[in-house]
């Protein structure tokens, strides 16, 4: 889904027909094709099959053009994207992320680190990481100015909740979602601090942008000053402060440990990858799945995910990462004892049993009822 920069004429984009723009005959044909293709298939005896989907829910998706790809630190490139015709992108709020759909099974999430006040451009910061499937390497190598990339989203599972005080803690490239949060907290006149750690100064992105905030920002390159002093900022719980943290698993785990004694809901964090799960003592069991709105009762065998079973029944549900990280498949739970295995909901949210990520989580009770 990447088209590198090459031709001088801009390649035809599969821009969606928007409600603000007119729609020509060829677009109409495309719409009609979508509608008759795959949905409402009939079986040989003329009966409608059980897999008819009357409502198809999907996320906003568009092919965006890379305006600029600039190296902003060792191994970090800041990529600015927009539509080919300069039309506005969907509105977002600090903490939101988008997917780069690099190919059908290589999807990577990147936090938006531009400003919501600029509806014409999005920016992400991407660290070249030795990743088994080469997601970030493809981004670094192919997404140069003029290249085109399929983007899905935005969505936000790391929202900035109103508070008089904030403590932001970033490790390395985890600074990206915090940049727009800091801008908003600062605009709203909140009392905030940023603790930003990294391997060495040269590897830490966006230091120039952060310089304008003066001593609210504490930069801690590990080779100069060692590890972040979490004890000094988190040692004493505060009831008027929200903690926002993004970074590598080691940092997140340490911050989680420190925040155990903080009031519930104080800590908000976002993971790059799935949280290490303790292996379940028993094998996955089968259960019955009721989709309330659709009026369907299904069977989830031990070797299939809830998401797979829902999709096989032809019911439309959003999903993206398939590993419980991105939050796209969050679904409202009506009833059932959910076995949460995602990396998004915190303990209290999991205990409330109101939502589950159907890509990874399962059910301990014999029956699970979802609002689908």
């Amino acid at each position: 889904m990447i088209r590198p920069a090459q031709s001088s004429t801009s390649p035809p984009l599969r821009e969606k027909a928007r409600y603000l723009t007119g729609c020509r005959r060829k677009h109409l044909d495309a719409i009609v094709r979508i509608q008759t293709n795959g949905y409402g298939q009939r079986t040989r005896d003329g009966m409608r099959t059980m897999t008819i989907t009357q409502t198809i829910v999907r996320e906003h998706e568009a092919d965006l053009v890379v305006h600029e790809a600039r190296t902003v630190a060792d191994g970090v490139v800041a990529i600015t994207l927009g539509t080919s015709d300069g039309t506005e992108l969907p509105a977002w709020t600090p903490g939101a992320h988008i997917d780069f759909v690099l190919n059908d099974d290589l999807i990577r999430q990147y936090s938006l680190c531009s400003s919501p006040s600029r509806p014409d451009v999005w920016r992400v910061g991407v660290l070249r990481a030795p990743d088994s499937r080469g997601g970030s390497e493809r981004v670094h190598d192919l997404l140069t100015a003029g290249a085109i990339v399929r983007v899905r989203g935005p969505r936000n599972h790391f929202p900035l909740v109103a508070s008089p005080r904030y403590l932001f803690i970033a490790g390395g490239i985890g600074i990206t979602p915090l940049l727009p949060m800091i801008a908003e907290a600062n605009a709203a006149d909140a009392d905030w601090r940023l603790l930003y750690g990294g391997r060495e100064r040269n590897s830490m992105a966006f230091l120039e942008e952060l310089a304008e905030y003066g001593d609210r920002v504490v930069i801690v390159p590990q080779d100069e000053q060692g590890m972040l002093d979490l004890e000094s900022v988190l040692g004493r719980p505060r009831s008027d402060t929200l903690v926002y943290c993004c970074g590598p698993e080691g940092l997140l785990a340490a911050v989680e440990k420190f925040c155990e004694n903080w009031p519930p809901g104080s800590l908000h964090l976002e993971r790059f990858s799935a949280k290490p799960q303790e292996p379940s003592p028993e094998a996955d069991s089968a259960f019955e799945l009721v989709l309330q709105r659709s009026g369907l009762t299904l069977h989830v065998p031990p070797d299939k995910s809830v998401l797979t079973v829902i999709r096989e029944a032809g019911v439309s549900v959003l999903a993206s990462c398939l590993e419980g990280v991105c939050g796209t498949c969050e679904t409202e739970v009506v009833d059932g004892d959910v076995d949460h295995r995602d990396s998004i909901l915190d303990e209290e949210e999991q205990a409330s049993n109101e939502y589950m990520m159907v890509c990874v989580s399962r059910c301990r009770s014999p029956r699970l009822t979802l609002d689908l």
Partner: protein
């Protein structure tokens, strides 16, 4: 960050404050003060000498008397009871009984955005307004579109209005005359597209007749069949935009698209009370006569909708909210609920998001 939620309203907040809401049309705001309410707060609107629209809290800082009952003097507004004078930023600049201005004497000022048709205000944290660009509805000022409409208060909650716009299948039940005949047949699949902050839906109908009144305006036979495309978008808690396209073949694989564009600027006055400004724009049949035909058709329809929503609010007020049964086609409306709920949770500093088990809030005065 959210001082307004704690100091202005001690009660549970149910609507987002950090949003642009339309409070008046540009024409309504002039050199005479105009009083409106949004989110249980009075707002006074007026224009300064250079024509800039100003929105201040409609309550004198000295005594609880609305500034909208006072008068505009140059770029200032004078209380009709206390004689306190406020500038366009809300600062008190004169009191009748002493030469010094009491420390901290001011009324809150709301960020204002004017787009040539509506005057929008931002009732939330003022500093955040600039991070949220107002959405544009340029067709309302575009000579390529003929626009008609009206505005009124609906005694029903903002969420009930959103849920109504989120599913137009009721149109055929509410008003068979206005409804395109395709709405009475089994509908084609509905495509719902979501982002973090918006929801849109669309569906395309196989060729079918259009309503008689529309065929007449277009000079087409009432039996002729046309492909029709429907699209709706929840843009913000204060704005819905919909369109209905009729494709009329003009031969040689070309077709002309006749479009109705519907704009709903909706503003929570209080829980259970909503200001509804509706506009119907069209890119065909520009004549005055066509407008005379269309205005009563749409006015009648939106009045019926108003009545139905008010009845629903009455039921909610009398019997309380209940768990509702939803169907697949409610996907868009449910997503709107979720977006609004999350916005409120984030503004009010609620640590956890809670699922809405039923629709709307009871009426408050």
């Amino acid at each position: 960050m959210n001082q307004q939620a704690s100091s202005r309203s001690p009660r549970t907040q149910v609507h987002p404050h950090n949003c642009w809401y339309s409070v008046a049309t540009s024409q309504e705001v002039g050199r005479e003060p105009l009083g409106r309410r949004v989110l249980e707060t009075g707002v006074v609107l007026f224009r300064t000498t250079d024509g800039t629209a100003v929105a201040l809290e409609d309550r004198c800082a000295h005594r609880p008397y609305p500034l909208s009952l006072g008068r505009v003097d140059g770029d200032r507004i004078v209380s009709g009871y206390t004689g306190f004078v406020y500038d366009a930023r809300g600062y008190c600049v004169h009191v009748p009984t002493q030469s010094e201005i009491p420390v901290g004497a001011r009324v809150p000022a709301f960020p204002v955005h004017e787009d040539g048709h509506f005057v929008w205000v931002w009732p939330g944290e003022p500093a955040l307004a600039r991070l949220h660009p107002p959405t544009a509805t340029p067709w309302l000022n575009d000579p390529g579109w003929a626009t008609l409409g009206d505005e009124w208060e609906t005694e029903a909650d903002l969420l009930l209005l959103h849920e109504n716009f989120g599913d137009i299948t009721h149109v055929a039940v509410v008003d068979p005359y206005i409804a395109p005949p395709v709405l009475r047949s089994s509908p084609p699949p509905l495509e719902v597209e979501v982002t973090e902050t918006t929801v849109s839906f669309s569906r395309t109908y196989q060729p079918a007749p259009i309503p008689e009144w529309q065929a007449e305006l277009l000079g087409l036979s009432a039996d002729a069949e046309h492909v029709q495309h429907e699209q709706g978008a929840f843009v913000t808690p204060g704005l819905w935009v919909d369109r209905w396209d009729v494709y009329v073949d003009t031969g040689a694989n070309e077709s002309q698209i006749h479009t109705f564009r519907f704009t709903h600027a909706i503003t929570p006055i209080a829980p259970g009370r909503t200001r509804h400004a509706w506009r119907v724009s069209r890119n065909f049949a520009f004549g005055e006569q066509a407008g005379k035909v269309l205005l009563p058709i749409f006015t009648d329809y939106y009045k019926r909708v108003k009545q139905i929503l008010e009845t629903m609010q009455d039921v909610l007020d009398a019997d309380g909210p209940r768990m509702e049964i939803n169907v697949s086609a409610d996907a868009a409306a449910l997503q709107v609920r979720k977006i609004i709920r999350n916005m409120v949770a984030e503004e009010t500093g609620m640590a956890y998001r809670r699922a809405p088990r039923s629709a709307s809030s009871p009426r408050r005065r």
